[in-house]
Amino acid sequence: MSSEILKPTRRALLRNAAALGALGTLAAPAIIREANAQSSFNWKRFAGTKLDVMLVKNPRSDLLQAHEKEFTELTGIQVSSEQVPEQQQRQKAMIEFSSGKPAFDVTMLALHVQKRLSAKGKWMEDLRPYLADASLTSPDFDYADFAAGAVEFGKQADGSIDTLPHFMDFWMVYYNKEMFAQKGLEYPKTMDELVAAAGKLNDPSKGIAGFVSRGLKNANIPVWTSWLLGQGLETVSADGKLQTDGPEAVWAADMYRKLNKDYGPPGTIGFNWNECQTTFMQGRAAMWLDGIGFATPLEDPTKSRIVGKVGYGVTPAGPKAHHSALFGDGLGIARASKNKQAAWLYVQFMCNKGHQLAMIKAGAGAPGRLSALSSPEAAAGSRFPKQYFECLAESGKIARAGLPQIIPVTEFRDVFGVALTNTLSGADSATELKKATETFKPILEKSEQA
């Protein structure tokens, strides 16, 4: 036999080929079944249903709405969607869910703000049974393709999956490569190096700030938490304790103050992301810490003076840890919806591999799927350089929640936002953080008891 394999005769070859052919014929249905899995999935089973969808106003929602026609052709389900500005959407969601009868079947949730609210109010349907049901989930959906950090972000403490992590925003550092080259500097690897670089790049006589980031209360919290993550800490521990007035939190607040006050542009105390973006885009700042979702206009020649000069750096490592602050939106089904199964078809269709890739290709933000994040197709023909996609992928690996996962997130942002702003007016960081912690502690305790 072995000699037959090594030196096959003509007869043996013919016999083996025939056997292989027969085996192939027997196996064909399985292969074809696999190949046709997508086409055999019954997308039409809820044809005629009408879904109401509430979206947040942003470029990603534009894409979802653009895919609606294709969805209706595939499923026969009619979709009526509206885009509501972010703040108003949060108020609308809160009021409608509290009423017990939301007027929508599907909505977006800002995971960094509404996640715990959703869990406490039992707003959303747990998607686990849907994912496990082969008759409801298309075989090519591949939930495992979502990045681990994104999946964790979309999950509740009890393991339920409220939403699919549709969009992720990683905090990183935009930097002006030309300014760095002029000073002979490399992109900093640590937070200490970043402060030193900001000092060297800061040149008020030429109207150039070494660093710019949000100073406006509420909006400024992620700047502080980005530095705090470098100490390996979040603002609220896993067991619900505030970690906002310890030496690590004070160190992060001091860093926030130094960068914004000593190396920031004038008026940074009132800057939100848009003022920072304008400052950086006009070549008036060497570095800008913010979400990667704000990159699009930087590479637009009609808006930016620094097209082609923008570097995309992963948030540098802190003294004890290396993380990128994570924010994101999830897409899920209202628990009170009467069309949950049809809504699930909508959610999985809008979060499939193709549409997640379309998001990154359109420059509308970072999708939750790894296949889209690492796709060569995403970079090909994109206005963004290779470094942008590398930054996305690297940030995705070290991402950690940028805001505490608590119910009163907005109050947290307000109270600590004011404390941080006060440090820019000269107040002592430790005193301000202690005061803010004392103010916020009863609010947090009450929210957990209620």
């Binding site: 209360k217 004038p266 003022e275 304008t278 307000d414």
Partner: protein, 309 residues
């Protein structure tokens, strides 16, 4: 045959049946006002009573109400941000009323005189008033940018250094007043101009004969005669300034820190950001009492300022 042309003597007639009936129906005429009464009860009285009820509850959207009596009010008066926001509201309101009144009256005096292109210039002058407050706020925000805003560029052309405008706790409220003055001075000008147009000429002729100069005529004739119109402008501007929200929220969101947080911004945060409905209702009740008192004061002053008072 003589024909009497005299009117027949009036003979007292007994009340007609119809009249008696109409007298009987009088109470039923009240029914005509019922729709208006119901609407007012539905959209004014009920919300007000409900707000009063909510102000006595510890109520957060998503949870149930719990009666706490006057605890929300007690907590409010211990809340440093609430007290601070009352101070900001007073500061903002006083300047946002006084400055447009002064500039608007001055502008009305100018536009009351005849000069070339007066109609065109008057139209240009009232244009800010036509703009949408949020759009105005967005444009001003761009102009206030400390590095890239046009205002600092204009200052630099006359040798003045850059200012931080709304990006500095010390200058934020005066800068917001600048926007208010620009936006609402034309309204005051129009009201006062209307008053000036209706003034009689005789007092001025008499004053000229008596040797009065322009200042005397303004101080002793124009100002007293036009004062009722200025009072109307003061009432309107006070109401507008007290309820100012859109421009402040768009430009500063109450910041930097809490430096421009007025009562309205504080209220918005409590109600629509923190969803503390009970606490926010207590703010509304206090604000309502303050507005009622101020309105009564202004209405009394307006009544006193009438020409025939």
């Amino acid at each position: 045959m003589t024909i009497s042309t005299s009117m027949p003597a009036a003979v007292p007639r007994p009340p007609s049946v119809a009249f008696q009936h109409s007298a009987d129906f009088t109470p039923r005429y009240w029914l005509f006002s019922l729709p208006a009464v119901l609407i007012i009860a539905g959209v004014i009285v009920f919300p007000w009573l409900f707000t009063l009820y909510m102000s006595t509850q510890d109520w957060k959207i998503g949870g149930g109400p719990e009666f706490v009596g006057l605890q929300n009010f007690a907590e409010l008066f211990r809340d440093a941000r609430f007290i601070e926001s009352m101070g900001h509201t007073a500061y903002f309101t006083i300047l946002a009323v006084v400055l447009p009144i002064v500039f608007g009256t001055a502008a009305a005096l100018v536009f009351h005189r005849e000069f070339p292109l007066r109609g065109l210039l008057r139209t240009v002058f009232v244009m800010p008033m036509m703009a949408t407050p949020v759009a105005v706020a967005l444009v001003w925000t761009m102009m206030f940018h400390p590095q890239l805003g046009v205002l600092n560029y204009l200052l630099s052309t006359v040798g003045i250094g850059p200012q931080n405008w709304v990006y500095d706790p010390g200058t934020v409220i005066p800068t917001l007043i600048l926007v208010e003055v620009w936006h609402w001075t034309p309204l005051v000008m129009l009201i006062v101009l209307g008053g000036l147009a209706g003034l009689p000429k005789e007092p001025y002729e008499s004053a000229l004969i008596d040797g009065a100069n322009n200042w005397h005529m303004f101080r002793h004739i124009t100002l007293p005669l036009v004062w009722p119109f200025i009072m109307v402008a003061i009432v309107i501007r006070t109401i507008d300034a007290l309820k100012a929200f859109d421009t402040i929220f768009v430009i500063t969101q109450g910041g930097p820190g809490t430096a421009s947080e007025t009562l309205n911004i504080f209220l918005y945060l409590q109600a629509f950001q923190f969803y503390k409905i009970g606490y926010a209702s207590a703010v509304v009740v206090i604000f309502f009492v303050m507005i009622i008192m101020l309105s009564l004061l202004l209405l009394y002053a307006r009544q006193k300022s009438k020409w025939n008072a």
